[in-house]
Subunit: 502 residues, 2 copies
């Protein structure tokens, strides 16, 4: 494979690589099934960084010219109509055997991000995870052994699909403190809130059904709804959350099955839906008879200002399905979240869930229940709120200090994220490569949009890195952005707006 | 609600109740939304057993005349075209909002069985669970604290979607001992093998796609495939497992997407597919290019005779997806199973799984890995094999001792179940009621069939009850069967063959 790099060219290096490989493939010089050199090796051979090759390969993958196979490397994709021939044993044509739904599960973004950040010394501002060092490990360890001593083998045996009754009762009590009135049998324990999204999609959405999402919205939800082959209808947002004035015309026009919203400290935008808009949203839900799926992982992580009631707290008619999780507050590895829903809906979730994973792991449920008893959760929340407020302030200060011309952001009152608008002229793919090279990662904003993604947003996380990492990460990122704005390239800018990064 | 019981009548009491309630509903005397008295109260009022009322309600529910709402009791279903009216707040018409897939998740059988056995003193022969008292609890407790001490918070944090690398490596080693050659990156850790069935259905099956299942087969798989709205094509079995001679015509006629099989100690029949048939099945899979989903929860639970290689061990072409679990061998509450599949398939499973529950609980994976290291698993397997062999023999002896005329069974060489053929003339619904009343439960065989279910089979479990319970449970059941055969009723027999029990 012959590739030449012209360092004097205005064409970015990753594009030079992608262009030449593309030519080799389309002219048949690299046949279907040809194994491309591993990124690291090609990078060494060409004297460029590994992330430059990674971005080039991503471009080629987005064009379906190459395909990555775990453990076997990256290979040239067979073109339509010319099936791959092998002399040895013929593998089944898996892609043809897969159902239509399988094509919905194709977004390798998360995996690519993890690869970008696996370089030693890279500062991850891309995740959505709590700080590992704030986990109340000693307490949890004590609770785990305490539960085992008290319950005996029962903690390792089957438990009800809906969740342990003790935990459902405790969760109903916790929700009362959040202003929500519900009974334990309206609570369903989940293996993380992602499972709630998944079950909701399976219960409500047939292929082609419309579902309303905010623009931008949570990637995991977009992936799930796409996996269900639903039609995603994006409603714009501003600094006060979803534009409910736009929602009304969407509801009358598309008759969606579900309105999906993160009203409080939205992921990724960090905004809070105002009380007026909450009332408006609920009124529209009632008028058009469309249920609301309220995703609320972050509302307990408020660092200033007064709480706003959840949609579920404001909803007497039972139109709101309320989803939350302990992955952001306590221990993501235990996979525990919960749903609050009217009994008829909860029963349907439980039936679907019997065929999914039967129930959540029993030991984790016992431990969570004990942790919430006796004030441990409140004490823990005080600790993390304090630490995250400092981290948020550190990120805000670092962004101010960097003073990148044209870079915009709002300091969020809670949650995990800064949502930043890049200066005009920054090429998203090139910035990602530069940032990776500089040792900092972020989430490209376009992944958070249902359609026609704007390219100028990025999401920065401040919960996972500590204050020093935040300062250093923002400084590295600011330098990368400055370099990029110093090299505007209108050709690339246009290309990027029609070609996905991943 | 006026109901009269005629104890002199040949019509069984549960039918008298069902018939009279049916008349009250169809004549409009009980309107839609009318709440029927709780089973216990009606039973007291009529002076009959609670299970008699339960069976009557099941009949009415099967006819869609009534519907059970968790927490609100059993109510008369609105008839088509006359929507339920309520003066107070209007609940959303959830059933209309649910997608088509929701109708696939409706089988309340498992819940009903649990209700039947929740009576104090009832002996459950209906489950498919390991013996709680054989769980190596002290060792597991020690391992859990050991893992926490060694890993620190990491055991409570996120882990890869495919599973911890250490565990995948250990599982690949374990499979080598089972005669299967695979690499760690061909292993996907699952939240129980039920999740593997679920993901397989989502990846392979579009609505209307055909999937081959054995007749009889595992209820959880049938429910999952029905939930995916697949077309279940049943292939008959005999004492040597699936009739592969019949399979060939099925494959050419229906072009199924998947062949689902439990070749070793099948659930529910206990049979083992012969080596010749295994080879035949694999040859057919290759010829018709249909992948095989091999479900293997029980092969390690062999009590006599020589092991037969798994399909995966015999398959060099990579047509077999191999599914197994630790819920039958070790601790069902941790929800851990695994899949072995070609990399292209594994990647698709992992992508689908990212939208389902992200990953299996991290602590459980660490504990399982440690347990398998250092010979603990082999020692544990020796203990449970010994105990289950004794229980199997106890059940065999109890069935012989009872000597119920016309009752047929085969003593299984391994696994968890006896599959029994009832004497001619036994009415399945009536037997279930009698058994519940006598304080013993079992799994009605018809739940295990894809279509045209025969009514004369029942499944008895010998792993969960101890030897005394097995003896007492079989004696109670035998008495119930004798009572039933003493009262043949041809009318009921015909009715039962067209009306489902649940």
């Amino acid at each position: 494979m012959e590739i030449t790099i012209d360092r004097g060219s205005r064409e970015p290096i990753y594009q030079q690589i992608a262009r030449q490989v593309r030519d080799l493939i389309t002219t048949g010089k690299l046949p279907a099934g040809f194994r491309l050199p591993p990124e690291r090796r090609l990078a060494q051979a060409l004297g460029v960084s590994r992330s430059t090759v990674l971005i080039a390969y991503q471009e080629l993958r987005a064009d379906a010219l190459i395909d990555a196979h775990v453990g076997r490397g990256t290979m040239v994709t067979p073109s339509e109509g010319t099936p791959e021939r092998t002399e040895v044993e013929q593998e089944l044509p898996w892609r043809q055997i897969f159902g239509a739904a399988a094509s919905g599960f194709q977004d390798p973004l998360v995996g690519d991000l993890l690869r970008l950040t696996e370089r030693a010394g890279a500062i991850p501002l891309s995740f959505g995870m709590p700080a590992p060092e704030l986990l109340p490990f000693a307490e949890l360890r004590e609770l785990i052994t305490g539960v085992l001593d008290d319950t005996g083998p029962a903690a390792l045996l089957h438990s009800p699909t809906e969740g342990l009754t003790v935990l459902r009762t405790t969760l109903a009590q916790m929700m009362a403190a959040r202003g929500v009135s519900c009974t334990p049998d309206e609570v369903l324990v989940l293996s993380g809130s992602q499972q709630g999204l998944d079950l909701a999609a399976r219960i409500f959405l047939d292929p082609g059904d419309a579902v309303v999402v905010e623009q931008p919205s949570f990637i995991g939800a977009l992936q799930t709804f796409r996996g269900a082959r639903a039609r995603l209808i994006g409603v714009p947002t501003d600094e006060h959350g979803m534009r409910t004035d736009v929602l009304e015309s969407v509801l009358s026009r598309f008759r969606p099955k579900l309105i999906y919203t993160l009203p409080t400290f939205q992921n990724p935008s960090g905004t809070v839906l105002t009380l007026e808009r909450r009332q408006h949203l609920l009124a529209l839900s009632r008028r058009y008879q469309v249920p609301i799926l309220e995703d609320d992982p972050y509302s307990e992580l408020r660092y200033e200002g007064d709480p706003v009631p959840s949609l579920r707290a404001l909803d007497p008619a039972g139109n709101v399905l309320y989803l939350s999780t302990f992955s952001k507050l306590l221990f993501p590895g235990m996979r525990l979240g919960f749903l609050i829903a009217p009994r008829a809906v909860l029963r349907q979730f439980a039936l679907a869930r019997q065929t999914a994973d039967l129930h959540s792991n029993t030991l984790g449920q016992w431990v969570l229940d004990r942790f919430m008893q006796g004030g441990r959760m409140s004490a823990h929340m005080r600790v993390v709120r304090h630490a995250y407020r400092r981290r948020r302030d550190a990120m805000d200060a670092a962004l101010r200090k960097a003073a990148v011309p044209g870079l915009g952001w709002q300091r969020p009152q809670g949650g995990f994220y800064f949502w930043c608008r890049l200066p005009a002229g920054v090429r998203p793919a090139a910035l990602l490569a530069r940032a990776a090279e500089a040792g900092v990662s972020y989430l490209p904003g376009r992944a958070c949009f249902a359609d026609e993604p704007p390219t100028e947003f990025i999401r920065l996380n401040f919960s996972y890195p500590d204050e020093d990492q935040i300062r250093e990460g923002v400084a590295r990122l600011a330098a990368a952005i400055r370099q990029e704005t110093g090299h505007p390239d209108t050709t690339e800018l246009q290309a990027a707006s029609t070609r996905p990064i991943v």
